[in-house]
Amino acid sequence: MSYTVKLEIFEGPLDLLLYLIKKNEINIYDIPIAEITRQYLEYIELMRSLNLDIAGEFLVMASTLIYIKSRMLLPPSEEGEEETVEDPRKELVDRLLEYRRFKEAARWLVERPILGRDTFARSSLITEVEREKREIDLEESSAILLLEAFREVLKRASRERPLEITVSRISVMERIEEILETLSRRGTVDFLSLFPDRYDRSLAVVTFLALLELVRLRMVSVHQVEPFGRIIIKGVGCGEG
């Protein structure tokens, strides 16, 4: 029978053999080795004529096939019973079966719902979001952090202007109300923006005391986006919650 090769890329000699077996509807346990060898060599010839690279493994298999073919042509050995004589094809058949099992396993794998092809999870880009959302744990240290920041404010104030005794024009309670009012309007407020007049030391003190009180009453929460970064005051119950 004339045989035309449909040129496919084979994963190796075993893959090619399995293809030939399937194509010819051959029983894998009873391979007509002469015919398969002929087709196999034809394929190699074709590859060669097309100047395709032929991996060494294909040539090794070719010689194996020829060897088996020659063994099959030999008359059964005279000594011993025929049953104990092993079929020269057995080793090859075992390899083909083994390889076929894994090809099937591979096919099973590729039919799975593959992540990134058939189904998606949160992408790896998520770390960026996590970073945005990351907030320093301020449960215990919020007062300290506030204090640090506050000290900065005061230091700047005293550095830039001689100390000045001013009478507080606004009480802590009033300042609390002001802050809450700002928060109810805007949800969050930048810590430093609560100290608009950097020279007004007494207002700064009042503001700071007001904030401490609000933290203590859990009416605001304090957030810092990154260490030493901006401090954000958030109204509890403002926005989502």
Partner: protein
């Protein structure tokens, strides 16, 4: 009581959302600090709720943990999203991967015996993709490295664990 359970479910949802990787039960325990039974029960309720509702995603038990995964019927649309990198797996890579999955720990020579071809390049690619890893060395002459699959392998193929791989067909059956 019921509210607590609802809250627990919501908390698990939140944890699954922020986790890029599948979350194990142990991890949920450590984060939530409730008993395993309580968490497991809430989790299972949640899984059922997601499965029953007409939702865009569901909870998949995968790689020893739990993970939100989008429903397959939305894939055609989701593929239009920019920045998705579909996995690229060649036939050679798949075959090698399946041999490693079933035969681990396995040496390169053992894989090559089965596939009948050199697998050096394929192994390198799979290592780079973190689908396999070196488990150690085999105590035979030359002390060759032995390979095994990774958590990422399970994740990629949506496998709960290695025992979810189907049995290899033994011998005798052609189609």
């Amino acid at each position: 009581m019921d509210v607590e359970r609802d809250d627990l479910k919501a908390l698990i949802e939140a944890i699954l959302l922020v986790s890029a990787k599948p979350v194990t039960l142990q991890r949920l325990e450590r984060v939530i600090q409730e008993g395993r039974r309580t968490i497991k029960e809430a989790l299972e309720e949640l899984i059922l709720e997601y499965r029953a509702g007409n939702r865009g995603f569901y909870i998949e038990e995968v790689a020893g943990g739990y993970q939100f995964r989008t429903r397959e019927r939305f894939t055609p649309w989701l593929k239009r999203l920019e920045g998705l990198k579909p996995p690229s797996l060649s036939q050679a890579a798949l075959e090698t991967l399946s041999i490693i999955a079933y035969r681990q720990p396995v040496t390169r020579a053992e894989i090559e015996e089965i596939r009948g071809v050199d697998v050096g390049g394929v192994l390198k690619g799979l290592l780079e993709k973190r689908l396999i890893r070196v488990l150690g060395r085999k105590d035979i002459p030359g002390r060759p490295m032995v390979y095994g699959t990774t958590r990422e392998f399970l994740e990629l193929f949506g496998l709960k664990d290695l025992s979810s791989l189907p049995m290899l067909k033994e011998g005798a059956d052609e189609e």
